[in-house]
Symmetry: C2
Subunit: 771 residues, 2 copies
């Protein structure tokens, strides 16, 4: 755990340079706009600890699988998020002395991520090896308003000397991924071009043959006056640069305005890349930095208007939640149904892939509530379009007749992961895909989605489950062997309660929807059956039997559901029995020891109780929470949020707040010692859920918003907005009352503390707290 | 399955060249002498399919571990059997046209492995691209009598042309391993020297810094007269060669006699390597090919005298069993306690390591019965000397207080394997180490071994088991979670019956021996306790509790032991239910499908019944055999032999013979399509066991030999010898009678078909069969 960042409501601030934490800061101060993004690397040269990272959404590399012992079914490759061309680079040299903070003494240094405006700023005064002092101020952003564009303002002032200042703005695609399996570079050069004040590199990814044109156009201003300059343009392998020599007197300031653009073959034909990139850099250049910045501020103001959560009386908590919301919207804006939410977003290259079940289980509710429903719908369409690949994935494992297994990790729908206990066995992910359809429709009321897309996915998933269970003569029940539940600290177990439960639910939900759609649009239904060769009578007959008679472990004495067969046979220690020096256990224990232990990585039975809360009475949920939570080490960033929601539901306010603290500032405080690899983007949505579903107690019941808020003792007040079926509702909670305001033109009825109350357009209801 | 080799009682014969099977032939025709060995590569150049392999016992390379996802406890490296200097090479060129069978038309070709004499022979008439015909005859061996030496006789006759024949004997250490993880070469050059008729290369292994000096000395004979010749000696990187040009008339024959030696720093100090290698090549050169060959024949005659099994009336079976015995003695002679029995011996580089539990479970009985007891004892001492490493291995996994876990795969005692379900979980191997001590002492009567070495190993193993189990409050018994049994088609299971049983047996056997030794040599016992900090009272108290109350799954209704918890919950198909096109399942099914299926790779419960036969009545063994064998796919080469022994015990003669056929010619017929990687050396000992323990029914009971032979219907007769406590007994079985002959000077009593009969020195007893 680190504590070097200044607490502030809207800004992330690093005062004084922390070189040993630089890779952490690079992750935390990352900027992006959904289409491109980058770590907070420095514009000028830096030879210290650094992970160079600049990313273009949807552009990936299929890195050949690395595995010790091959098993049939493993994928050939792992789709890696690609480190793409560096477009921020500006080399700075004074009479040949290159500015490099790793070699300077710093008199002052400040790095600021202004989340309100979406701008990364940095300023410093450095004493170089020669003893000369220089001041630099920089400001940059990835434009949310014009997502092909990035802009930099970079000012240099020699404080106590006159000099020939050489500035070299450049574009460099000769970059590599640090986690390349076979130590290769992933880009080939296609084209380079460089002019007096612009330059372009087109590079192509190996194997996947994506092309990206990265371009720049820049101007120089000296002491606030435009400078006319000559350049020395240089082309190198996958790199272009323009060096300009400027005579500078002591105290004078040179400002570089560098405008950059990334255009990929995802959005432009290959033969148009260069032209489109020039159009973009020209457009940015013409508008200029101030105009672009004004548009950026406005775009972010709009996002905050929709998605902000305000917390009063706890600056650290306020900063934490805003940081999470900010990073989520930098990663995924919902504008493109081909994109998804990578686990590290644009903040690092680790894990690769872009899509995990995190999207459906954790991120979807955030986008459902804070953005127009098209955004969440695009996340669903993404999976719909990958259904064929999911059917192929299942076929590779021996499933047939259109059964689908969605991948654990993917970019295009093909499975990328290669650990048998995950790839082949952590199949509960299939349930989350189905649950997301349910969640989306329940939230938006968009029944048409089911007819057009949803049912086809559900049938394919149901087919998978029906083949994946088998009938045990010994138990006289359907069982499911050889799975890994959400708690990955157990592998290859039988009858994982969560997996069996969600499998049963999938079958039941599919059956219900088949019945409904058959009735509503019989012709469309018939056409679907024909197309996917669905023999309703035969198949659903088996499904019904499974629904009625699948094994779900329960211990009567303890009054709990059994995580999987044999779990209660373990030494039933609690987390409090652990030596703190051995935590986190995944950094101290061998894998077999973790597997044999009782300790749980993240919610498993409790994940089911969270998803299907309405199926259980409060005492059942309490008994399971009391049994499982004390055995949970929360070593997944996705763990605490579910526990906040359940603890809040159970009125365990202190527990809920304790869990909340573990998730809200995970990356800001580098809680797990791994933020240097990038931020935990998907778990950030969990933090949002913890506030809205946990503290706010927001649910959807009977097609209405339901609220049962509580407020942590430490907070003076908090508020959030949610979008619901076209309306916008603001919820403000303080220690004495809750105020619910309908900001929209739509009349609503809401349930507040179990009471149904009308909430007409523009009206406000107020209730006392502690109900 | 292939069928291109000629059936012969003493020889393996390939008539006509089979280039697509060449890598299989290279494996099958391998030669070795326990200290060095090699695949049957050609002496002359060959650009066709080929796996070059020449190996020096005990010289290995620790190849950096390759793994997809690292887990705590994985080893840093995997010890690879090293492909070492090629010492057989003789380049042959006629007026510059290089002889290369890949580019020739073959008029005739024969490759013969003469197992009786330990000689590899080859002869061919080839038409080269130029249309000229040449005849070659070669003969070579690795001397069993002088194990530093190899010798080659290589004759070349241009049949229909006169020519300048250039022959180039060479030594080439610039070789690589095909299965290198990171595609590096493992050898560096230390020194090269080349003279008129000799040459030497000293190469050093990276990381391990073994040095090996490989040398040659050669002479030439033309038309049976020694030839005086000039050479062009050449030194290259890690290579030396001598080219000799000889004028040859049509029909004349040039014979190259090439003598080679390998001397490693395992046996000579580094500064002596060259001198020792020269001494060896000089010695061989002086003796000459015929004398060396005579010694070779004599040494092999002695081995066969001890270890041969004769089968009459079934040439294929006779060839199969002799091939297995021959390869075992080529691999391990027992002369050096630092060496062990690699899974591929000197026939390939795959798997690496030298030692698996195969040694104790399968190979030990072979060496116990066919060689002086020192040989088996050396196999035990090997493990004794690695006890410290076994304790370190266990400590890496969190075990303490001197608990030992012997590695799954090793060279030096350190674990090399890196699959968590094997490395951390296939811990039954520890039981086999203890069982080998028991087996050795029961066979040899060498009680002193227990006092000097055995008990220390047993205590360390017992300590491991005591920590590996835990007490289940639910079951009120000790349980063992998270293991992989001998059947590797199940991973991470709880309460594997075999593992729990052998763990209990280890504890019990250790307790008994503590009691005995404490009584017999109290001072030595006290000293041991002191040295290993063994607190008998505390530790054995816990052990006794475990012995009395460990969970051993049993199904009353089926009357069988339960392989592991949940096994009977499976879909209990039989192998006959499988689609033959999907076999072997490990080449057709994804790993999860294999895991979920009922199908068993190799004996698991039955392995226990084989080891502990006397603990169970026949009906129990029969019930378990009848339940498990029909569900066993025998996809491990170690599987059929145990089933032969049990089937024979149960009087299931046809089943026993059917199983025997699967093991005896496994490599000769390339049953599993993998002989090209090398032969299955350790499973060959299983074949020997199948005959002696299976058909011969040999056991040790009450310190006496026990025999209950049967004879397969297809065989006219078979016979074998066994050494037992200084005596040698020959057993001859035909369809009507069994004859047991005491060939030694020691009087014995034996049990034949349950009758105790005296068998004095030199005497013979005869009994009718079908008892």
């Amino acid at each position: 755990m680190k504590n070097y960042l200044v607490h502030d409501e809207w800004k992330i601030i690093e005062d004084n340079f922390h070189p040993t934490f630089n890779k952490i800061s690079e992750s935390v101060f990352s900027i992006g706009n959904g289409r491109m993004g980058q770590r907070a690397n420095f514009e000028e040269d830096f030879t210290g600890e650094c992970l160079q990272g600049s990313y273009v959404a949807g552009v990936y590399y299929p890195d050949k699988t690395k595995v010790g012992w091959w098993k049939i079914g493993y994928p050939e490759y792992f789709a890696k998020v690609l480190n793409a061309a560096n477009w921020i680079g500006i080399r700075v040299a004074f009479d040949g002395e290159i500015l490099d903070l790793a070699k300077c003494e710093l008199e002052s240094f400040q790095r600021v991520l202004d989340m309100k405006r979406g701008v990364l700023e940095r300023s410093f005064v450095a004493k170089m090896v020669s003893g000369r002092k220089v001041k630099v101020e920089s400001s940059r952003f990835c434009s949310l308003a014009d997502d092909e564009i990035g802009a930099i303002r970079y000012s240099i002032t020699p404080l106590d000397f006159s000099t020939v200042l050489a500035v070299t703005p450049y574009i460099d695609a000769d970059v590599k991924n640090e986690d390349s399996n076979y130590d290769e570079k992933f880009w080939d050069e296609v084209y380079t071009e460089v002019g007096r004040q612009d330059g372009f590199v087109i590079a192509e990814t190996k194997k996947t043959a994506f092309q990206v044109c990265t371009g720049m156009k820049f101007k120089l201003v000296k002491n606030e006056e435009d400078l006319y300059f000559d350049t020395h343009p240089v082309k190198e392998e996958k790199k272009v640069s323009c060096t300009v020599d400027v005579d500078m007197e002591e105290g004078e300031t040179l400002t570089v305005f560098k405008y950059a653009a990334n255009i990929s073959t995802l959005n432009s034909p290959a033969d148009q890349l260069l032209a489109d990139c020039k159009t973009a850099t020209d457009r940015a250049f013409e508008q200029g930095f101030e105009a672009l910045l004004a548009a950026q501020e406005q775009a972010w103001a709009h996002k905050w208007e929709e998605a902000d959560i305000r917390i009063e009386g706890d600056v650290a908590a306020q900063q934490g939640i805003r940081f999470n919301i900010f990073q989520l919207y930098q990663t995924y804006t919902g504008a493109d149904e081909r994109l998804n939410i990578g686990p590290k977003g644009f903040t690092g290259e680790k894990y690769g892939g872009s899509t995990y079940w995190d999207t459906e289980a954790y991120c979807l509710p955030f986008y459902l509530s804070t953005a127009p429903s098209e955004v969440a719908r695009n996340l669903l369409i993404y999976r719909y379009k990958q259904l064929d690949k999911a059917i192929e994935n299942a076929a590779k494992l021996g499933f047939k007749d259109g059964a689908a297994l969605y991948p654990m990790v993917t970019m295009t729908g093909e499975e990328c992961h290669n650990e048998w206990e995950i790839t082949f066995e952590e199949i509960h992910r299939n349930g989350a895909i189905a649950y997301a359809i349910y969640d989306y429709i329940r939230y938006t009321g968009d029944q048409e989605y089911m007819e057009t897309y949803g049912l086809e996915v559900l049938i394919a998933i149901a087919r998978f489950w029906a083949q994946r269970v088998h009938f045990s003569k010994q138990k006289n029940q359907y069982v499911m062997h050889g799975v890994t539940g959400p708690n990955e600290y157990e592998n290859n177990v039988n009858n994982n309660w969560y997996t069996n439960y969600i499998a049963r639910w999938c079958l039941q939900y599919t059956l219900e929807n088949i019945a409904a759609i058959k009735k509503k649009t019989p012709d469309a239904y018939e056409a679907l059956c024909e197309r996917i060769k669905f023999y309703e009578y035969t198949e659903t007959g088996e499904w019904k039997k499974i629904v009625e008679n699948i094994y779900l472990g329960e211990d009567q004495e303890l009054g709990v559901f059994v995580q999987h067969e044999g779990f209660l046979d373990k030494d039933l220690l609690k987390v409090t029995d652990l030596d703190p020096a051995e935590r986190p256990i995944n950094q101290h224990w061998s894998w077999d020891r973790i597997l044999r232990s009782v300790f749980i990585k993240q919610a498993d039975v409790l994940q089911g109780l969270y998803f299907f809360e309405d199926d259980f009475d409060e005492s059942t949920i309490r008994a399971n929470f009391d049994f499982y939570e004390p055995r949970t080490v929360h070593e997944s960033s996705l763990s605490p949020c579910v526990h906040v929601i359940l603890a809040a539901y159970l009125g365990m306010e202190e527990k809920a707040y304790e869990m909340y603290l573990r998730t809200a500032r995970l990356d800001l405080d580098d809680y797990n010692n791994d933020t240097e690899d990038g931020c935990h983007i998907t778990s950030m949505a969990g933090t949002w859920m913890a506030v809205v579903k946990g503290f706010g107690g927001v649910r959807i019941k009977e097609d209405q918003l339901f609220l049962r808020p509580f407020i942590p003792k430490k907070w003076a007040a908090y508020s959030f907005k949610i979008q619901f079926r076209g309306s916008v509702v603001e919820v403000k909670v303080d220690q004495s009352q809750v105020e619910v305001v309908n900001l929209s033109a739509i009349d609503l009825q809401v349930q507040l503390f179990d009471k149904k109350v009308p909430l007409n357009s523009g009206s406000t209801i107020v209730e006392k707290m502690n109900q």
